[in-house]
Symmetry: C2
Subunit: 613 residues, 2 copies
Amino acid sequence: MSLISRIRRVLVGPPIATKHAHHERLPKIFGLPVFASDALSSVAYATEEVLLVLALAGAAALYLLMPVSYALGALMLIVGFSYYQTIHAYPKGGGTYLVSTENLGSWPGRVAGAALLIDYVLTVAVSISSGTAAIYSAFPQLQPYKVLIAVAAVTVIGLVNLRGARESGIVFALPTYTFVFCVLMVVGAAILRSFSEPSHAPPAKLPTQPEDHLWLIGPMLVLRAFAASCTALTGTEAIADGVQAFRPPEAKNAGQTLFMMIALMLTMFLGISWTAHYYGIVPMSTSQPGYMTVLAQMGAKLYGEGSWFFYLLQGATALILFLAANTAFADFPRLSSFIARDKFLPRQLMNVGDRLVFQNGIILLALVAILLLVLYHADTHSLIPLYALGVFISFTLSQAGMTIKWIREGVHDYRMFISGFGALVTFSVAIILLVTKFEEGAWMVTVAIGGLLFLFAKIRKYYDFLQREFEVSPQDRIEPVRTTALLLVPRLHKGTLKAIAYSQSLTDDCRALHVTLDPTSAEEIKREWDRLGVDMPLVILESPYRSLIEPVLEYIDQAIEDDPEAMITVIVPQGVPPKWYQALLHSNVAALLKLALGSRRNVVITNVRYFLS
Amino acid sequence: MSLISRIRRVLVGPPIATKHAHHERLPKIFGLPVFASDALSSVAYATEEVLLVLALAGAAALYLLMPVSYALGALMLIVGFSYYQTIHAYPKGGGTYLVSTENLGSWPGRVAGAALLIDYVLTVAVSISSGTAAIYSAFPQLQPYKVLIAVAAVTVIGLVNLRGARESGIVFALPTYTFVFCVLMVVGAAILRSFSEPSHAPPAKLPTQPEDHLWLIGPMLVLRAFAASCTALTGTEAIADGVQAFRPPEAKNAGQTLFMMIALMLTMFLGISWTAHYYGIVPMSTSQPGYMTVLAQMGAKLYGEGSWFFYLLQGATALILFLAANTAFADFPRLSSFIARDKFLPRQLMNVGDRLVFQNGIILLALVAILLLVLYHADTHSLIPLYALGVFISFTLSQAGMTIKWIREGVHDYRMFISGFGALVTFSVAIILLVTKFEEGAWMVTVAIGGLLFLFAKIRKYYDFLQREFEVSPQDRIEPVRTTALLLVPRLHKGTLKAIAYSQSLTDDCRALHVTLDPTSAEEIKREWDRLGVDMPLVILESPYRSLIEPVLEYIDQAIEDDPEAMITVIVPQGVPPKWYQALLHSNVAALLKLALGSRRNVVITNVRYFLS
């Protein structure tokens, strides 16, 4: 244990006292990177995902990139306005789970909670996969180790969060602003160069176009491309969740930060899409040798593949994506602690560890995310079909909740209209996501949400049952009990002497039990007993089947029958060896007995340990 | 637990009382199959292994099969005579471990024990692999599942042994005599046909002959081929181990059975070798499609591949090989119980289970054998290099022990000479095995024996230490102790009430401990405490680091310091949910506390369970 403690201290740091819990208030300049890294980082892969859908339908379909991007831009504005309102309506923090539960009721709140939990896991998996792709776009020799890199990244981020990330403002600011700077430099260079070389090259080559995908051309293709783009919106809700982290006036500052974020997302996303469109950049398959992300291709095309800017771009992309994963490590444990507080998840998720973080939630998220990364080989494109559906379900419920709130409060002006419209649009998008991605993976998300809801209900039911069972009523009194001590004596040794003394100190009703396999051992122990003058009856139990447990069980059952009110305390002397592994050489009767006595009431099993020097 | 018990009952059967332990005395007709199946079954693969060695040196080397076989025949007779003497000198059973320990001392005995333990494991692995090969020689479509079949066979044999195989005589007789009959039919047919077609075909084709094996031609090749043949002798010691299982006069009957066995082994082994030689049968590589063992090839050649005799031969071969594995399942647990009785192995191996078998030894053997089968893909030929060395080490020590015994007893006649000669010959063979198979695997056996000897010494040292530590000296008295009870009260519920009453029944020195994370919960519990009028001081412990464990540990440490002589009993109320998995929803403070209190002396931790209906 002390070794475990020491390792833990090195990895996670010494405990932090509750009184040191501080609520760092962020100026906008830090608030933006802390809350927006998730949303902003999505632009690193969103355009690529749209292109991958369009490319399936052939080169002719690629012209659809810009219309789809404009549609997503419009959606960004709608979602942005909706959340701007939420921030002002919930200046204490308008998390989706809270808003939905408060305005729509427990069930919709639970659906939002389940959808968000799943999406936080996917945020980690997708962001880490995509960040890893940014790394091996710059260093192709690392591609074979992508799963390893991804798992290591999750582990490091998990440990950082277990330590409690308190200097987050500065840590987030640098990579986030570098990323924004780099993307704007790419887009800016693309625009500048477009003046000097007005005609752009047509797409050079396309990934394979299997015939069975030809049916996709048409409205379905557009919808699928649009669905793929929606991943860019994940993380938009973050600022509304964390209004209280801003300096006062909180709502005003948070609202301004939200608009700053939406503006940046719009610019970056449309800029990247336009650049891809104008320069005819085609996404590569990760199985292609020398794979590069679309963003990396742009950097390589405009600044040169070996240039320092190219490496800066890839580094900043990887970092902001890892920070996006880090955001989920703050959100998931907090949300699961809220849900656990409402008794829908195990109460261990509410435990604030000695580093002032929800350690169980952090560990749970890391484990599930690692599992996903291993199962999906840390491949962004395979994970994307699972992504975004949960986000849009929670958007819908959050905005629907806001709409109901306005109606209840008698607010029938533009605010109600914006929330209602937002709910309608995000609901439509959720339906589009569900339909277009159903076969590819959205069905799993649906099943997972259903499974979580079932689990929530079961857990709540159990905690309610626990409360009823445990509740002390005014009639309840403490009834005195009698205790009978039964001391197991396999052999008479020093540990036994100590256990005898201990048993006698507990109660006058002590009996020693010796299970005998052959009569000579019984005689021997009787002699010893007499010689020591032990003031305790010694009961010899025959064991016709050579079990050391069965005769004791039978004796205990008889004792319970004789005196159903008494508490039977079974005392088992146990030698504790100097080294833990030496315990393998002891026959562990106590553990076996504990298992066997599992369901017997009024029985208490006690180990009296004797330490071998 | 009751579910586990029920499954156990179905698989292993109801308990058998000690008084029903009977020592079935076998007539010779049953004694032969019971004790000889291991030795006789070896002829199923011995010739093939010799041919595989010779074939490496090319077709020209195959003529060496008969000389090597005659040498092995001579060795069989020498070993047979040696053990005949052991039987008469130890009519109570002359196991190698016993004979070596008694005559040569503890260390040689331990070496023999370690060597034999390893060889019993290998007997299971080799016999099962070879039996599986007999099955897929008849049904080639089963070859891909050979590891699965082998593991299933070990599992079934393990379960049969856990039940206790009491009707062994009849069960063994049928396959053993069928196998003997089939082999004699093959050899007989071969001899008969040799008269009608006097010239035999030269070997049709040979396995690959890599050039780097050409150095093998010469004396080394002969030694290697001889070493390969020695596997035929494994199991010869079985009758000497089990003299007491024969009807009186035990030694006479056992001795006659031994000679019967040696005669059969000689006839069958030489017969198979001659047939292979005469008909130019060449061993196949298991990776060849349509692989057949050498014995199966003979059956197919002489009786036709689809004939009922062919299937009978393969079935009997598989069965006798599985029975050989079964023999190890009787020998290994018995030997390990002897070694455990001498305190060189964990005492759990001495436990006779409720089915009157050494269940832990059976389970241990099954697990290690399955591990070997999986690692070596149930391939007989890869396992063979590990085999036989242990057997010949134990032969040598057993015969050396007999020689010393004769010398000590002043017997200087032919008996001393036979034992001495046997020891010398088997020692030479052991050296040949070690040298010729060293690189291929004998080094592992050497390391394993060394490792076991180290383990034996460590275990013995620990048990000796335990005895010294535990020993009650005449001065030892039972010193009365005081008990302080500390009751943990996280919340006040019905389980707590029960625990309060229990604590009060134990000692007058009771204190309740409540760890508080916030002051309101402390106030609340104090009010409840007063309302119930609990006659026990309530200690509120602050937890600046939010740990529920640390403050309790500190309090306990203080209590130990205040009164180093008292026993501190920590009582933890624990709710027991109706279903075991619901315990996941409880925070298990007791288990954490137990871990944390690990090394504190004079502390006893007690769970008072409250059953939720």
